[in-house]
Symmetry: C2
Subunit: 155 residues, 2 copies
DNA sequence: GTTCTTGCAAACCCTTTGCACGTCT
DNA sequence: AGACGTGCAAAGGGTTTGCAAGAAC
């Protein structure tokens, strides 16, 4: 869970963004960010919907989707799309950044941290004339012994 | 478009895979691979469906989806998922492998080739006990001058 | 007061599935 | 002959949209 101080910084960042884009600062939008800060993990739109409505915070799915989009636009959230799954989000400040290796035989997902990618990201973005924000690297691979892999369900 | 020779290699590779997995070698599956070899670009399931049915090759969407899945399983095709779009495929042999930078302000996608990622991919996969197949790196960034970017539609 | 946002339900898109028929082995 | 693949249309899941009511400015 983000500290109180971190939450205030995020709210400030979000309000500034909304003002700058001439969007309105509504109770729902602030509430949603507040409740996201309570989750220290990846989450889907529907998980957030259930998290909020299970605790008396009435918000519609339409508002959740729209606010998640705004929070992603201003880089407070990072949006992930693994394989065929629904979109998942996490606070960008939830460091360190990690990437994912996916086994094409059994679908297992392994998280890893590889610092050298950051430098490559920055160098490539600069070369192409962009300011880098973040990245997503997915490595597709198979176990060294796929036939004995405990996760394997394909044959 | 892949050369005649390349197509034969791909067909051989596909037949071997089907036999190994005890799947049947049907006319539809071979036809689909043939028509994919004509496309020198990324394509979606529906684009392939239209490509085939527009030229008298009657194949159902169900068969297209199922065959694309088989072709991805045996690494003849690589499956991409950009942002919220539908899945896109391309021949894995359509080299060199490239990655993508996406502008979060205007959605522009820039392709780039960065060789050093291959070594990182192999090293990470090995460290985690996997045999690397391929990877997908997406860099999210903004133009150095987002307000003057010709692609920008957000303000 | 005007404009934007919300909530609901229906619509939407891409993909998967059930079932009867056809095809591969 | 038997098992598997195909085609169709309908179902499915996640996300977006149209519209009336409500909140922000």
């Amino acid at each position: 869970m983000a500290s109180l101080n971190q939450i205030d910084v995020l709210k400030q960042q979000f309000s500034d963004f909304l003002r700058r884009k001439k969007y309105r600062i509504t109770q729902e939008r602030i509430n949603i960010l507040d409740r996201i800060a309570e989750i220290d993990d990846h989450f889907s739109a529907d998980e957030l919907y259930l998290h909020m409505n299970g605790q008396g915070d009435k918000v519609s799915r339409a508002t959740i989707y729209s606010t998640l989009d705004l929070l992603t636009q201003c880089s407070i959230l990072t949006k992930h799309r693994f394989q065929g799954e629904s979109a998942h989000f996490e606070l960008s400040s939830r460091m360190p950044h990690h990437d994912h290796l996916i086994c094409t035989e059994c679908g297992r997902i392994v998280e890893f941290r590889e610092e050298s990618i950051d430098a490559i990201r920055d160098r490539v973005a600069d070369r192409l004339g962009f300011r880098p924000l973040h990245h997503s690297l997915q490595i597709f691979a198979v176990c060294h012994s796929p036939t004995t892999c405990v996760h394997n369900t394909s044959e």
